[in-house]
Subunit: 432 residues, 2 copies
């Protein structure tokens, strides 16, 4: 089945940057892009769709989230961090059943698809149940079972969490024609023993899997680590081998200059989560310095309980404004740089080399944005318009591997009404 | 004509704060609210509308914008402030015709209505032409003709701008049953002589009109004023009588402690414009201090060329996050405080005492938000959900003075297609 999208502005990838082809053509053969251009293709297509007044962009990649927390959306807002986490979130999380985690994941996917996200990197419990939901919905995800260990006597390889992690990997890695990938994960320095980090790093390295961690989110975390180990969390993780393969670190708000140099050297991607860092009062990561110094930066929403949504278009808008204002320099972070964070840099951290940008040969992970809306007129520059003016709700089509999963408010692979009903029920039970 | 809205959650105003009435009733008699409650009203209504799965909130008030700049959306993004303003924006503004200003205003109103704004405070040229557009569209606006004067010899009362200001006032103040109000305006300290400020303040005072100014937006402005006059812009304006009546000041990024005390004493409202202040690299106003010290704070988008949209729901989300993060305190600015900024505090700066909150006797300026959307489920707290999770596009109905102006993507008083067409044409001509 070969399909041709015509009449849209196409945000193609050329020579390492985005270029907008006005009134262009994008051809899809099965699950891959086989044509991009401003002239009609020479070959025939089975089906042609008029996409006039839309902008086609690569599917957005959410580099760090905790989808199951969708059921906790808004829980404990405006509380101090410790009260929020320990007194409010943790007690409810303890009561989450596997079924809850599946519904939370489904709810999260409804939201992500309708705001242009095609792939996400999740760190949460119950990944076996949620993996099936991802498979059924047709999205792409890098999943993990985050490891924690507080007991230096605990055997990392026989503990329950590691067993879950390994069986998740064995059962799901590569499923759905590679849509699902399984990475390893250490929750954070302050929740893990050295022994566990070493073991996880070794297992990940052996499988060529990624390593997903929380890093330098708060000043307290950074300081406590230096006091305890005489080194920053980044250096501590590195000393235990956690950065020897593909690795990505959420937050990075308190990274030092030396940390940044280390992350660059190891090729670790920092996942910037600006909304969450602001809402929890953690601070503002020095993204301009990271980019200037050559560290790869992707974009994440973090969990919806500290955001409180999963809207990467909103996140792009925020990141494009925030650093200009805080560092008082309006030339920082161009719209193209921000779009790279939300697309190709996210795909790279997931270890996916055949998506993240629109180019011939890549998987057809494509989002269409309706540009015939008052807040997007005039369109002096399409990337600027996308990053500074668009809303998540401007997305009118989300396609993964050539398959349309969302279009004009309708979900083609998920039962929206059933999920909203069950999510409301689950939340009522959890929070009563 | 008496209409009853039933089944919605109603964000009513009780004892100086918002309270959500679940599954409530809101009655409208002509242009006013005549009933709010959780029980059905005793009196009969001509028409009853089921508003289940919506949240009714007061119409949002945009406290500071330059609507005509809609045609310049995205112009000169990411340039240093001076290049943006002097080399990019000003030359295009010089070419704006009265017809352009009207189209820009109409485009802005399309956007504002679809994201829940019922009233706005505009500072731009051509206010006579745009006043007619506001009248026709059915919105509420406080308009002005901003005064500037660089020549100390110029007679403030006979100059062209003052003449336009006075005739704007005479022709339009109170039009549309009070929907249009005309205020006076001094563009800024750095664009005006003392003589002009004194004259404008005197004319405003005599008419009981408001005074709309730009204040302490950039550090350079603040410093230059202190060097030139030996006092801050706030003190300078005050010394010339500009704060003797109802007055409101956009930005306030660089206000000193003494400035804040002065503004509080004079009852001046500060209009916080967080997106614009970030995008132009101006900095972050100390809103928590303003509120703590008793200064009224409203919310504005500023012009769409430095934002780049007119979406107050997005602005509420940003303001609720920004100060928590920058001051590293997640307890700062509750959702209720943020919603007050965007509603009742805006109405007060406009001198409107019969709107800004939903209460019996007030004008029916009402917005309905569709809460049956994945990113708004579950709804643990409706105000938190509105401020942290909602998008502008969740607005499904916008009503001003009891008249529905926007509903489910349709505009009832404006020709959307004609306006988008003309706006694109005008922008093409202006930017070619």
């Amino acid at each position: 089945m070969k399909r041709l999208l015509k009449g849209a502005d196409v945000l193609a990838w050329e020579n390492g940057g985005f270029r907008c082809l006005k009134n262009g053509y994008l051809g899809i053969d099965g699950d891959r892009i086989d044509y991009i251009g401003t002239a009609p293709p020479a070959l025939a297509y089975d089906e042609t769709r008029d996409m006039t007044h839309t902008l086609l962009l690569p599917g957005l990649v959410n580099g760090h989230t905790h989808t199951g927390m969708s059921l906790l959306r808004g829980l404990g807002s405006d509380l101090p961090l410790k009260e929020w986490l320990f007194d409010t979130v943790f007690p409810v999380e303890d009561r989450l059943t596997d079924e809850d985690l599946k519904i939370g994941m489904e709810l999260a996917m409804l939201e992500m698809l309708s705001s242009g996200t095609t792939a996400f990197t999740d760190m949460y419990m119950g990944a076996g149940y949620t993996a099936q939901a991802v498979l059924d919905a047709g999205m792409k995800a890098n999943l993990c079972r985050p490891l924690q260990s507080f007991d230096p006597e605990e055997d990392p390889m026989t503990c329950r969490r590691m067993q879950e992690m390994l069986s998740l990997y064995d059962q799901w890695n590569g499923a759905g024609n590679g849509r699902i990938q399984v990475d390893f994960s250490i929750h954070a320095e302050y929740t893990c023993t050295k022994k566990m980090v070493r073991a996880a790093a070794e297992e990940a390295r052996r499988r060529g899997a990624g390593m997903h961690i929380h890093l330098s989110e708060t000043e307290a975390e950074q300081q406590a680590c230096v006091e305890k180990y005489g080194m920053t969390p980044a250096r501590w993780f590195d000393s235990l081998g956690a950065f020897s393969g593909r690795a990505y670190a959420a937050h990075g708000v308190w990274l030092t200059t030396e940390d940044r140099a280390l992350l660059k050297e190891r090729g670790v991607t920092v996942v910037h989560c600006p909304e969450s860092n602001l809402k929890l009062g953690s601070g503002v990561a020095d993204v301009p310095a990271l980019i200037r110094e050559g560290v790869a930066v992707a974009l994440g929403t973090d969990g919806p309980a500290s955001n409180n949504n999963l809207n990467l278009i909103e996140e792009m808008h925020l990141v494009s404004l925030l650093h200009k204002g805080v560092r008082r320099d309006p030339t920082l972070l161009s719209p193209g740089q921000v779009l790279q964070m939300a697309t190709v840099n996210g795909a790279r951290l997931q270890g996916r080399t055949d998506t993240g940008v629109l180019t011939v040969g890549n998987k057809a992970d494509i989002v269409a944005l309706d540009t015939d809306r008052p807040h997007l007129v005039p369109a002096i520059d399409p990337i600027s318009n996308l990053v500074y003016s668009a809303q998540g709700a401007d997305v009118v089509m989300t396609m993964v591997d050539g398959r349309v999963l969302y279009e004009n408010g309708e979900y083609l692979t998920m039962d929206r009404d059933r999920i909203l009903f069950e999510a409301r029920q689950a939340a009522r039970r959890l929070l009563s």
